[in-house]
Each structure stands twice: as C-alpha cells, then as structure tokens.
C-alpha cells in the first residue's frame, strides 16, 4: 500500500444558491494515475479549482503530505510541487516552445532576485530540451507556441506541467479536442511519464475509454457528489455509475 500524497476532505463549493461540489473526499497515492470522471457539469473542474486554490472552497480541506494547504494561492501550490493543465488550452502563444517550458520551470529556481541576476534561461535549457525530446516536439523548439497545431499545443501544455518536476500533476481534460492519433501519442507519453519517472497523476476526463485505459484508480462524480470509487473494472460494473451515465 503506497503512501498517500494528497488527501481531499469533504470539499464543498457553493455559487450563490447552486452547490457545484458537494462534500467530495478522496486521496491521491504516490505513483498512481487517478481518474476523476463524471458527466459534464458534475463539478469536476470546480473541484480541481478548489484543490488548487484557483477558487476558495466553501467547506472542506486539502492536505498535502499531512500539511493543510487549503486555499493556498495557485503559485504557492505549484511551488509545493502540485502542477496542473487546464481544460482549455493554455500556452503562451507569443513565446517559443522552449521559452514556454523555461517559464514553466523558472519560478522554482531561487528567488525573484537571484533569477533576475542569474542566467537568462535560469539554467533550464537542458531540462527544457529534454522535455521537448520526451514529448517529441524537437523540430518545433524555436516556433512560437501560437503557431503549433492544437494537438501539439496540448502536448506542450502537458510538458509545461512537468517542467518543475512536480510531485503530482492534475490534468484537466487532456483528451479534449485531440484527434485519435495524437490522443494515442499523448496517452503513451503520459504512461511513460508515470512508469519512467514515477510521476503521480490526477486526470479529469469525460472520455471514458481514455480514462479506463490510462488510470489505475477511478473516482466517479455526479451532481457534485462522489458516487463511486475503485479500479476501472469495479467502476464499470457499478450500478450507480451506469444510472448516472444513462440517466444523463
């Protein structure tokens, strides 16, 4: 039984009258790929935003290695080794691919001022190149990110999340809008990340097959509540889940 990295305890988020997330709890274990699935609008992304301090949760706690990190600013969470991608593409179109990656790593090197007077690339060019190779973006290193294809940008987006050598990475809809070949490529790379580098993932998806293939454990949400948790096989067999999806 591997040790627990993050513990999410009874997160609840209300917007005015609506309760988007209603007391969800789960844990993330080191080295696993945890999938969080559920029909659209079941509060997956809101849950993510609460965990990462993008939104303050109305109730509940987030523990990282036993420390309470609830409501820390995203930048602080990131420096504690929790990084993420966004549902919608979020790369910096004006910067080159390599620059995007350097940026993703630089804030972890020294302080604001040592960075200012340190090397231009904060000494990250090697790591960046390695990451570029890993995601097979070599031929595009100098291109402005804005010029890449959607799929390529998705890869870059994921790569940026790994730049800082995070303890865990939260991927929000990595499969969204990616064509099949590119999807296979992405899936294969993510798995490699997990096996070769022991990276821990939490993946939000509504593409069931993708999750079922990729994840070791799955949490199912519906209308803001957790309705099931277990291995892909268990979840697939779970009546509540079937209802939730058919009822949807």
């Amino acid at each position: 039984m591997t040790r627990t990295l993050m513990e999410v305890q009874g997160i609840r988020k209300k917007f005015g009258g609506i309760t988007a997330v209603d007391g969800v709890s789960f844990e993330v274990r080191e080295g696993e790929i945890l999938g969080i699935i559920g029909p659209n609008g079941c509060g997956k992304s809101t849950l993510f935003n609460c965990i990462l301090g993008q939104l303050p949760p109305t109730e509940g706690k987030v523990m990282l290695d036993g420390d309470d990190v609830t409501g820390l600013r995203p930048s602080a969470m990131n420096r504690r080794g929790v990084s993420r991608t966004f549902q919608l593409l979020q790369v910096f179109p004006q910067l080159s691919v390599r620059e995007n990656l350097v940026l993703a790593g630089q804030e972890h090197k020294g302080t604001m001022f040592t960075r200012l007077f340190g090397p231009r690339d904060a000494g990250l060019t090697p790591d960046a190149n390695q990451m570029i190779e890993f995601f097979r973006l070599g031929h595009l290193a100098e291109e402005k990110a804005g010029g890449l294809s959607y799929g390529q940008q998705k890869l870059l987006d994921a790569a940026m999340a790994f730049m800082a050598g995070p303890r865990m990475v939260l991927l929000d809809e990595p499969a969204g809008g990616v064509n099949l070949t590119m999807l296979g490529h992405l899936e294969e790379r993510l798995r490699a990340m997990n096996t070769e580098r022991g990276a821990t993932f939490v993946v939000i998806e509504h593409n069931m097959d993708f999750v079922m293939r990729l994840c070791t454990r799955v949490v199912v949400l519906a209308e803001g509540k957790k309705i099931a948790e277990g291995t892909p096989a268990e979840v697939r067999a779970n009546q509540a889940v079937i209802d939730a999806y058919l009822g949807h």
Partner: protein, 329 residues
C-alpha cells in the same frame, strides 16, 4: 526572429544618424532630438508596463513630472544633478509600486481610470503646493549637469548627454526583457491565470512592472528638467500621459523598438506637418485611428507582418495569436 532582422538592417544606419545628424542641425533641431531621446525613455517605461506586462497606465506623464520636479527642486536647493537624479528614480519607483496595487484588484478600463485620476491629482499638487513647487510660476534658475569636468551646457553637449542616457536605458531594458522577468511579464500579459498555476507570483511581477516602468518615467523627467531649464505644471497634464500612450501604441506596443519609433513620430510630427499649420494634430489623430484600425500592434507590427508574410503559415498563425494577445491588455 524577424525583429532581429529589422534590428540588423536599420541599426547601423540609425545609430549613425543619431550620432552624426545633430552636427548638421541648428539648435532647435538639436533640442527636438534631445526631447525625442527623453520621451523615448518615458515611452520605454510605459512599454514595459503596458506592452510587456499588459497593465494599462494613463499616469506615465505624471511620473515624468515627478522626476522633473524632484530634480528641479533639489537642484535649486543646490544638490547638483546626480543625487537628485537618483532620488527622482527612487521616488518614482516607490510611487509606481504603490500605484500598482490597484492593478491587483482591477483590470483594463478600471485600471485606466485609476491611473487617469492619479495623474490628474499629481498635476493639482504640482500647481497648488506653492511652498514646494512654486506653483503655477514654475521653478527656474537651475543649470544643466556636468560630469567628470565635462559640462553639458551647450545644446549639442546636452544632446549627447541625453543620447547616452537613452543608450543606458535601452541597455537596461534589453537586459530586463530578456531576463526571466521579461518572460514572466509576457506570461502575465498573455495569460495571468496560467502563469499563476506555473508558480509565477503575478502580484509581485505586476507591482514590479509598474514600479520599473514608472522609474523610467522619473528618469526621463529628471532629464527633461535640465533640458528646458524650467519646470512648471502645464506640461504634465493628462495630455502628456495620453501622448506617451499613443507613442507606445503607434510605434508598436510590446516591441522593443516601438517606443523609439513612436516617440519619433510624436515628437517630430509637428515638424513634418508644418505645412498643415493648425491642422497637424488633426492629421496626427487621423493617422493614429487609421493605423489602429489596420493593426493594433502599431507600425512595427505592420513591418513584422510584412516580413513574416513571406514565412510559413505556422508563423502567420502565430501572429494571429499575437494580435489576439493584445486583447488581454
């Protein structure tokens, strides 16, 4: 990429012109060139705040004023030039930092209005606090600086002094925007949320963008005072802030050389349009509107487009994204 091509092509020509052209000019021509150098420094500062970090500011003129008054007041009190210069930069840096705080709460037009209000308030202080600023009469009777026994009294001498200052400021900017900070500023402009999630402390970078930009405004003001050898409130109204903003936009906001070009147009325009008599401002305004309608990335934006037009589709897609990038400003 294309930017550096631009640089190589014209760099030599321009630098040469800046050094030797004034020798052929009369004193007025030299004054205009000095004014250009000084305004370029102020515009560069605004370009950092607006063009790189994406924070709207309608207060750059006020910072030029703060710099000018600091130097004028201290020089009349007999402090020489260099200490006042330093103080001017420190003060404007600090005030700029404070003005950055609203930017942490509000964006876009709200920020524009806060800074607008600020610059109007500063003008009122200049005009009303007679004990300090001599009010509407203005401060006179301080001399141009001299350094290491070299005096910068004569117009041409002072021009080279300002040119040196410009070179210094440019070097600093070039270093800054290529540093990790420069990268963080761009990230801040293009996508603050994503930047935050990558550990970029957007608050501190926002404040820094304001502080450094304002300090450059102060630096430029500190040079403006000895250029005119007289400081009064009238030049530092909102109009100056708007002019500087237009210089940045017209030249090309977010381009390193945008301010140089924008300031050249803003400062030299009355000369080029002399034939138009009273109409020159009308023509300028018209030009700005048409330019902006064509592209919001300014003249350098157009030039970049023309260069990149010969490149691959990928590159052209990049520029689409680039001009979209300005929406975030």
């Amino acid at each position: 990429m294309s930017r550096s091509v631009l640089l190589k092509t014209f760099g030599v020509l321009i630098v040469g012109a800046l050094i030797f052209l004034p020798l052929t000019l009369n004193r007025y021509g030299i004054y205009i060139m000095s004014l250009w150098a000084i305004m370029t420094i102020a515009a560069m500062g605004l370009n950092l705040t607006l063009g790189y970090a994406g924070q709207v500011s309608l207060a750059q003129g006020a910072f030029v004023g703060l710099g000018a008054y600091t130097v004028a007041i201290m020089m009349s009190a007999g402090f020489g030039f260099w200490l006042p210069l330093l103080i001017a930069i420190v003060i404007t840096f600090a005030v700029g930092w404070l003005l950055g705080y609203p930017a942490l709460r509000v964006q876009h037009h709200y920020l524009a209005f806060v800074t607008l209000a600020f610059s109007t308030l500063v003008f009122l202080v200049f005009r009303n606090e007679e004990w300090l600023t001599k009010g509407i009469y203005g401060i006179m009777g301080f001399k141009r600086p001299s350094a290491f026994g070299v005096s910068f009294q004569k117009p041409i001498e002072f021009y080279y002094f300002t040119l040196g200052a410009l070179a210094l400021a440019s070097a600093f900017m070039a270093w800054l925007v290529r540093s990790p900070w420069g990268r963080a500023f761009v990230a801040l402009r293009e996508n603050p949320v994503r930047a935050l999630s990558l550990g970029v402390d957007t608050r501190r970078y926002t404040l820094m963008a304001f502080a450094i930009g304002s300090a450059m405004g102060g630096f430029s003001g500190a040079l403006y005072a000895p250029l005119v050898e007289f400081v009064d409130p009238t030049p530092f109204t909102l109009a100056l802030s708007l002019n500087l903003l237009m210089m940045v936009i017209v030249g090309g906001s977010g381009f390193f050389f945008g301010p140089f070009l924008g300031a050249a147009i803003g400062v030299l325009l009355p000369e080029w349009l002399r034939f138009a008599h009273g109409w020159y401002l009308t023509i300028y305004a018209l030009f700005v509107m048409i330019l902006l309608i064509k592209t919001p990335t300014g003249i350098l934006g157009i030039i970049e487009n023309m260069i990149a037009a010969r490149k691959t589709r990928a590159a052209s897609a990049a520029r689409a994204a680039a001009s979209a990038g300005l929406d975030k400003v």
